[in-house]
């Protein structure tokens, strides 16, 4: 029973990790930009959910509808106005730029909300249910379903929409798509906007689960890194697989090696993958 409970916990946690990482993976894969602000966007999404619920009583499920376009817009503008200016520069330049903007975002949130931990507590709480002796927390389950839904929606956009195909085309061959008449700057901005929207929505969902503080941004970013490397850059199914793999490994690892080693384990996995399979589980072909 303990084994099943641990496996369930791992799967649920894995879906949350996938949700954290999907947008990060897209931006890294398509734009070759390591967006250090990703963790900050997630926390900002959590604050949005917390503010909407505590001051206006808006359920986080509805806040998602606000968060997605809002964060898309913010991401689009950041890419169009700032990042596009240095997009052709080596990856370290964009990394440093997003790092700097992350500092601004983080300190802005510290000023606005202070470093105190907040928590979105639904009233009444969603609780948990028993399934064949295994406890399943409802909020995590809902967050998991929504996270999968969001990630699947991103997959559909990339796979079937015209703009999605253009994003993939740019990712495959930037120069060729330029020659085919794709407006690279717009595609980059849309991809970054989608990444930011995913982060914002993830933040809204995570507000139900984790305490909210600007200081959590680093922990989210760390997980996103590991999931991306495990799953493969730019691959949406890869983010889901990477997330699940990490969640289950951490959960089982916490029982086998003790909870103190679960973080060590995730970074050990990162190193092993970087050495043995740097392209990740699904990163080989890289086309959705």
């Amino acid at each position: 029973m303990l084994a099943l409970q641990v496996l369930t916990n791992g799967l649920v946690l894995g879906c949350l990790y996938a949700c954290i990482a999907a947008g990060f993976s897209l931006v890294w894969g398509v734009l070759n930009v390591i967006n250090i602000m990703h963790g900050g966007f997630i926390v900002a999404g959590s604050y949005l959910a917390w503010l909407a619920y505590s001051s206006m009583g808006i359920d986080p499920w509805f806040t998602l509808l606000i968060a997605a376009p809002l964060f898309f817009g913010i991401g689009y503008l950041i890419q169009r106005g700032i990042l596009n200016r240095v997009i052709a520069a080596p990856v370290l330049v964009t990394l440093t730029l997003t790092f700097g903007m992350d500092l601004i975002l983080n300190n802005g949130m510290l000023l606005a909300f202070s470093a105190d931990y907040r928590k979105l507590i639904l009233s009444p709480p969603l609780g948990s249910f028993l399934l064949a002796g295994i406890v399943v927390p409802v909020d995590r389950l809902l967050a998991m379903v929504l996270a999968l839904g969001l990630t699947f929606a991103l997959y559909l956009i990339l796979r079937h929409s015209r703009i999605g195909r253009a994003i993939i085309a740019v990712r495959m061959d930037r120069d060729a798509s330029l020659l085919m008449g794709v407006d690279i700057k717009i595609i980059y901005a849309v991809a970054f906007g989608l990444g930011a929207a995913m982060a914002g929505c993830a933040g809204v969902l995570l507000a139900l689960i984790f305490p909210i503080s600007p200081l959590s941004a680093g922990a989210y970013l760390g997980k996103a890194f590991v999931v991306c490397v495990l799953g493969g850059l730019g691959s949406v199914p890869g983010a889901i697989l990477g997330g699940l793999f990490l969640g289950v490994t951490e959960s089982i690892g916490a029982v086998v090696f003790g909870p103190e080693h679960s973080v060590t384990l995730s970074f050990s996995l990162l190193i092993v993958f970087l050495i043995l399979r740097p392209q990740g589980i699904l990163g080989k072909k890289g086309y959705e």
């Binding site: 303990l2 510290l110 709480p125 503080s213 909870p259 679960s262």
Partner: protein, 414 residues
């Protein structure tokens, strides 16, 4: 000055302009030096390295509030009385970004460059231990407002003092009370953040439990930045303890409490250290905070009549509340009392000589709003009886010691 000199060396043209610049720089240097000398006569500088940014930022804020409240009170009263002369107080803060090696550098910078006369230790046992080495080397008295672990004080240092009693002064009374009130509680599970203080107090808890015949059925550590406790909690649930004892900071314990509810883990007694002393834990944990027990070195409900600048505990609590619109917790109060203790030592010795102030601290035996203050030979306070409290109806209620008790211990955490 250094930049100017380098620029001058590089410059080969326009020697006249360079001479003028040199002269101006010299005048500037003299005037700055002059100001500093005048300044130093009026003001006693205290250094406070704090983790103002990074994961420990909430703790830094609490300490800063405590120090600032003391400094403001002193300055409002005209300053510290040094042999009949009133000297104002200035606290120089350095943000060490929650990074212990930087805390050590910050302490050194405060002493060597900012020329502070006395220092407060950085936050927590780990950083305080590391930074105390610097203070000891320069012979600067250092008061640690938030370091309780005995490992901080076992270095044989002469200039380090701490306002927290050893960790077993929290766990011994706690286990004694639970044993008396609930003889059926036999199994304890302990889950600790792998960090100096949270781990040290968890180890003390293990010792206290075993000494009182309790069986420790689970003892594990979790890493800093852990985002999920579900596996550890599933194991705890399987071990079926009657007492769950968890240590960590606000973030860890809010998340853990939430996951305990999610996983339907209940126990007659759940103790968490150190978060429940803070209002933000109570707010963030919501109903989950009910009946959680905890212990701390101080509580606004204690009643002492001090000889320090704040006077009674009530007047300290009122002043703090008027200033910051929240009740003070033990971290705020410890920071304030650290300043007040420096003040008492300076006023008693009638000098700001570091050695003499240190000697005064070493032989100090006074009552303050914080409680009785007497330091042991290793510099750690020995005279406090820390209160045990429980969250009842979203308020911390003192359940021990009997003299300041506000309510009875309630059983059952769901």
């Amino acid at each position: 000055m250094e930049n100017f000199t380098m620029a001058s060396v590089r410059s080969t043209a326009n020697r006249g302009r360079r001479a003028v610049s040199l002269w101006m720089a010299a005048v500037a240097a003299v005037s700055v030096f002059g100001v500093q000398t005048a300044h130093a006569q009026e003001v006693i500088k205290f250094g406070a390295p704090l983790p103002i940014t990074g994961p420990l930022a909430p703790e830094a804020l609490k300490q800063k509030q405590g120090y600032d409240l003391w400094a403001n009170q002193v300055n409002l009263a005209g300053g510290i009385n040094v042999a009949g002369k009133k000297m104002k107080v200035e606290i120089v803060y350095i943000d060490y970004q929650s990074n212990t090696p930087r805390a050590v550098q910050a302490t050194e910078r405060l002493i060597t460059q900012d020329n502070v006369q006395f220092v407060f230790a950085p936050f927590g046992s780990g950083a305080a231990k590391a930074a105390s080495t610097v203070a000891e080397r320069y012979g600067v008295p250092m008061i640690a407002a938030t370091a309780s672990s005995s490992q901080v004080y076992d270095q044989g240092y002469k200039f380090l003092f701490g306002t927290f009693t050893p960790n077993d002064t929290l766990t011994n009374p706690l286990t004694t009370i639970i044993r008396q009130r609930l003889p059926d509680v036999k199994k304890v599970a302990i889950l600790a953040r792998n960090d100096l203080f949270p781990l040290a107090i968890a180890q003390e808890m293990e010792k206290s439990s075993k000494e009182r015949g309790l069986e420790v059925v689970y003892f594990e550590k979790f890493a800093i930045n852990t985002l999920d406790h579900s596996s550890a909690l599933a194991q705890i649930k399987a071990a079926n303890p009657q007492w769950i004892f968890a240590t960590g900071y606000t973030n860890d314990l809010v998340l853990m409490r939430k996951q305990m509810t999610d996983q339907r883990i209940e126990a007659p007694v759940v103790t968490m250290i150190a978060a429940p002393a803070y209002q933000e834990f109570i707010d963030a944990a919501g109903k989950g905070a009910e009946n959680i027990t905890s212990a701390a070195w101080w509580h606004p409900a204690v009643r002492y009549k001090g000889i320090d600048i704040f006077g009674t505990t009530e007047s300290y609590v009122k002043l703090f509340k008027d200033t910051y619109k929240v009740d003070p917790d033990y971290a705020n109060a410890s920071a304030s009392v650290s300043g007040a203790l420096f003040q008492i030592a300076i006023e008693k010795s009638g000098t700001i000589n570091r050695q003499k102030v240190r000697d005064e601290l070493a032989k100090m035996d006074v009552t303050t709003f914080w409680g009785q203050v007497k330091f042991g030979p290793n510099g750690q306070i020995t005279s406090l009886e820390p209160p045990i409290f429980q969250i009842q109806n979203a308020k911390p209620i003192v359940v021990h010691p009997a003299g300041i008790k506000q309510g009875d211990l309630r059983i059952g955490v769901k």
